[in-house]
Amino acid sequence: MGVAVIGASMTQFGDRDAWIRELIAEAGQAALSDAGVDPDEIEHLYVSNMSSGEFEGQGGIMNALAHDLGLMPAYSERVDQTSSSGGAGIFEAWQSVASGASEMTLLVGGEKMTHKTTAEATDIIASITHPAEYKHGITLPSFAGLTARHYLERFDAPRESLAKVAVKNHENGVDNPHAQFRKEIDVQTAMESPMVADPLRLYDFCPITDGSAGLVFTTEERAAEITDDYAVISGIAGATDTHVVHERDDPTVMGGVVESGQQAYEMAGIGPDDIDVAELHDMFTILEFLQMEGLDFAEQGEAWELVEEGHTERDGELPINTSGGLKSKGHPLGASGVAQGYEIYKQLVGEAGPRQVEADTALACNVGGFGNCVITTIMEAR
């Protein structure tokens, strides 16, 4: 059964006073409103979230949301796939409609993080690592530093090329009213920012963020009755790579990106050249290179050249992260994959405002852990 997206929402991302229940309720209500769907119509509810228990001590948030929006007796479930919880939520929501189990599904992703110190939030996120990694104080940013050094040394890529990813995404984020940071930066600022995980500096990393986003899914048949402008999920797949990051054969290849991308392309019956706009998981600048290569937008070791050439800018051949990416928009863990879905949906239905590009086919790649779990979603305009 064809699955359509008929509505989307995104709260303000950043340092919010609201706690997790309020954040997801805000996005859930806005998504229903955007879709023009009554709460009574929702049969399945999925809530993407990594760590509401660890961050806030609040469990059972899918049931809290069902009650706060009056969705009972809808089926509800919390989806955790670490940083790719949002993409996994898209996968679950797609399955619920494609299988015929639900005719109308609401997905909300959210995370409340900023009340913790950077050290505490980093530790909560690092808890996903293997004990053999965790005992050494390894963090997700340190994986990025190790990988970036290897990439730059092996492919002879200039350090500035990573800074240019940050500059591009910050520039895009200026036009996103929901972004945490709406300010342009230049290469020099990025290159002179404090060192975080050598060779990566502050501006190579996304911030810690509160926020939520929502999407409404239904059958393509029902979508056509409700609205003239909707998008369909034409390809979607998830895949895993090793839990222990150093056990991968090639440190510059994320197997989950390659595998989920290939499966999503195959399901959609298209290839990388058919993608008009993409949202990639730029939790760290180096990840944009690894995903461009894993998704076949670039040959291995050559993504940095496309960035240098402006290929991925908003007016380039393949705009990447028109939303501003996690880099400027912020990264509320469970919300990020849903917010990627928000951006490509808005691009496809022509509601992206000043960020609008010409696009009929869009891709989102949501990366969990350091490539441990990945979901690739392809949407097409109808």
Binding site: D123, G137, L146, R149
Partner: protein
């Protein structure tokens, strides 16, 4: 304490070990101790924004150990045995470069177990740092 990599009957090696070999799904029945071997730094970083209980900066490296000879002894009939295994860990100094030769040095407590998010009893906290030779 030894610094064990785990080996299955087909000569596949991992550090750390797993319930089943990720390559062929056989049980990992043998070990190779890396503690008295010299490895080579594949890549490294200085991590400055470290979590509670972790030294700052925390210099980390991925290190590759040549274990071809040991695997031939352990799994002589293996058709395509692994020839190297990688490990990750702290470095004893901030002065390290890719390609450096390093030796494992035992440390009783790599970070303070009592201030992080993980339950202290849930895992071990001793292990090996890499010391440039």
């Amino acid at each position: 304490m030894s610094f064990d990599a785990y080996v299955c009957p087909n000569g596949h090696v991992t550090y750390p070990g797993h319930t089943l070999c990720p390559e062929c799904h056989e049980e990992q029945t043998e070990t190779v101790d890396l503690s008295d071997r010299t490895g080579e730094v594949v890549t490294w970083t200085h991590s400055t924004k470290t979590p509670p209980g972790v030294r700052a900066p925390n210099t980390l490296a991925i290190v590759e150990f040549d274990i071809a000879e040991a695997i031939t002894d352990i799994a002589p009939d293996a058709e395509e045995p692994d020839t190297f295994v990688r490990a990750i860990g702290q470095v004893t100094t901030d002065d390290v470069e890719t390609g450096d030769a390093v030796e494992p040095v035992y440390v009783e407590e790599l970070r303070d177990p009592d201030v992080g998010i993980k339950e202290p009893a849930s895992q071990e906290w001793d292990g090996y740092r890499f010391d440039p030779v």
